[in-house]
Symmetry: C2
Subunit: 207 residues, 2 copies
């Protein structure tokens, strides 16, 4: 599994002329590192008398972030698998009308899946990013740079995931589906703008 590769090897595979793993898998990895840093900031705060007032909120936030981190790590592989399925569909035989129709349907279905995997990453990364301002605002100020890194990585992973959704959409024929996905890209993107404005205000005033 890609997520079990050493960091160096994952980076080398990304850099290779093989298109997978590519930006989608890497977006999942980067967002997972971001979620990890927000969790670390919670862990460096919880149980310390000095930050008692933040205890309840950060406990809740940590509980919500951990499954997001695990899901994002799983998406490292999920994204490459979805890409492989697209390639496999393109490789299907097309010697007669029936085969051609089957191949076309398989491509369409694989393309949808290849858009839904990064969309789902973007949703989860977006939720984690919403929580970043709580972590930065209530967390141990000695870890403020870590919370800032966490937010930046979640944002980068989210934007990267949305690029991967967008590059697939022109190949999908179902117009209603494409319109729905396009409007969700827009919504997630705007929500990320707002979440970033909030957390960066805290980071910039604290550093």
């Amino acid at each position: 599994m890609l997520k079990e590769l050493p960091l160096t090897e994952f980076s080398t595979r990304l850099a290779s002329e093989q298109p997978a793993p590519g930006g989608g898998s890497a977006s999942a990895a980067v967002a997972a590192l971001g979620a990890g840093l927000l969790i670390m900031t919670c862990n460096l705060t919880l149980g310390r008398e000095k930050y008692q007032d933040a205890e309840e909120d950060l406990m809740e936030v940590r509980e919500e972030l951990e499954p997001i981190r695990v899901m994002l790590l799983a998406s490292v592989d999920r994204d490459s698998e979805a890409y492989d399925a697209v390639i496999a569909a393109f490789g299907m035989p097309r010697t007669n009308t029936e085969e051609k129709a089957e191949r076309k349907a398989a491509i369409q279905s694989a393309m949808r899946a290849a858009s839904e995997v990064p969309m789902d990453m973007a949703r989860r990364a977006g939720r984690a990013l919403d929580l970043a301002s709580i972590v930065a605002g209530k967390g141990n100020p000695n870890a403020l740079s870590d919370a800032g890194c966490g937010a930046r990585f979640l944002e980068a992973g989210l934007r990267g995931a949305l690029y991967n959704v967008r590059i697939n959409l022109p190949s999908i024929k179902d117009e209603a589906y494409v319109a729905e996905m396009t409007s969700e890209v827009e919504r997630l993107s705007q929500r990320a703008d707002e979440a970033m404005a909030k957390v960066l205000a805290i980071i910039e005033s604290g550093l």
Copy 2:
């Protein structure tokens, strides 16, 4: 070495209550993944007749990006080592005036090193980010989302590295040094703004 850890294990260690590895090491990792994706985009372009006009430029860009990628991966460990040295300096004995003076000097020197490691990452990530618009503009358009991810990750790694510089500076007593570092943070930050504006214009118009 941290850079040899599986991605999942690196993410778990980040999330733990141990402050190292933290945001600095993760910034190096994220930026290295970004450099890797720009290199992949070059590799998906070079040697293809269709993109012959880009051949010379992207060959040069790839040659410059590869050592940056390797340096960023090395910084994953370098940053945690620099942090460990700070902790070791704080742990030095201080039972008499001489020991106190030695400890103080060791802390100052370790703090400088802990600021210089992320500053150096930010410089290299910044250089790679300058090249992102060439990769996005001249690279294989099928890999445009990968180039976009590459730019986003380099930016996030760079901003994260600068947070790590900034959180250390208040502990450094040498005012001239702090002023110089602060102005370099500002310069790198502005250059990143400009590089991002350039590359995002290409990504947004192409996706």
